[in-house]
């Protein structure tokens, strides 16, 4: 009986450790982007103001990030075509945002293609994340 309990506990601990290994904090996500862009000449860090403007500006495909995520990303958004509810983007409100690298990559790829018709640079992603992290 004791051995069984011990095994269960060990398994639970392992599960928690594994889950933690997959997740990352928003700060770590931002640090990863900074590492990608820091070697570029003239890099002067990320800017929340620039990120906000990028978020609200209409780009090549006549959409902006705000088209679906609204101009206040602390609020829930709505998919412009399907009307499906989109949980808030601001990590202060929605703690899961920007903690799963595969999910981050998947959505930046899709949404940058939809909104800009191209991939976003690490600078642009970093600015937007800095803006979203500044929201309370």
């Amino acid at each position: 009986m004791h051995l069984l309990k011990l095994k269960t506990l060990a398994f639970m601990a392992l599960t928690i450790i594994c889950a933690q290994a997959e997740a990352q904090t928003q700060q770590e996500t931002l640090a990863g982007l900074q590492q990608q862009v820091s070697e570029t000449t003239g890099f002067q860090g990320f800017s929340a103001a620039r990120g906000e403007q990028f978020f609200n500006d209409t780009h090549a495909n006549n959409w902006s990030c705000a088209t679906c995520h609204t101009r206040n990303p602390a609020n829930p958004g709505k998919h412009i075509k399907t009307s499906k509810l989109i949980p808030p983007m601001a990590p202060a409100i929605n703690h899961e945002r920007f903690t799963d690298q595969a999910k981050i990559d998947k959505w930046f790829k899709r949404n940058c293609n939809d909104v800009l018709g191209r991939a976003c640079s690490a600078q642009e992603k970093g600015d937007v994340l800095t803006y979203l992290m500044s929201l309370k």
């Binding site: 998919h79 075509k81 399907t82 595969a102 998947k106 790829k109 899709r110 949404n111 293609n113 939809d114």
Partner: protein
């Protein structure tokens, strides 16, 4: 009775039960990956609503998915396509030249909805015929039973 025969009988019984149980249970065929990915922007449309050839074309063109980029990594695409094809409609495809991608363009869909008045399709709460859940209140669980239809009023 040898083991092979027992297994065969068991699988035949399982198949006939599945057919006998009617539409709703078959429409509810689910797979965690399919559910998670396909319900990110809209409800996860049941596999049974399109033939296998349509799903093959759909999953091969996710980067241009009805006007948006819905691309997925290769392993997710493979897993979801296999699930969709296994549970696809067994009806003969309506066109052999170009697989139908829109469920709303199938003869079956048009027939099932031929009594729906035009004003309802245009209602802002419905917005699009792709918005099953506007009237089928349990669409997200794959249950399209008439008992659960509530028209917007």
């Amino acid at each position: 009775m040898n083991m092979k025969y027992v297994l065969l009988s068991a699988s035949l019984l399982a198949t006939s039960t599945a057919f006998a149980s009617g539409d709703n249970e078959t429409l509810a065929a689910s797979n965690p990956k399919w559910k998670a990915e396909c319900s990110a922007c809209h409800i996860a449309y049941p596999a049974r609503l399109l033939p296998a050839a349509s799903w093959l074309a759909m999953m091969g063109g996710l980067n241009k998915h009805f006007g948006t980029d819905a691309s997925l990594d290769a392993s997710s695409t493979t897993e979801i396509l296999a699930f969709l094809q296994q549970n696809a409609s067994r009806k003969k495809p309506e066109s052999t030249l170009k697989p139908t991608l829109r469920i709303t363009e199938t003869r079956w869909f048009k027939h099932e909805h031929d009594e729906v008045p035009a004003r309802l399709w245009k209602d802002p709460r419905v917005k699009s015929a792709a918005n099953c859940a506007a009237c089928h209140t349990t669409a997200e669980t794959g249950n399209f039973n008439e008992d659960h239809i509530r028209l917007p009023k």
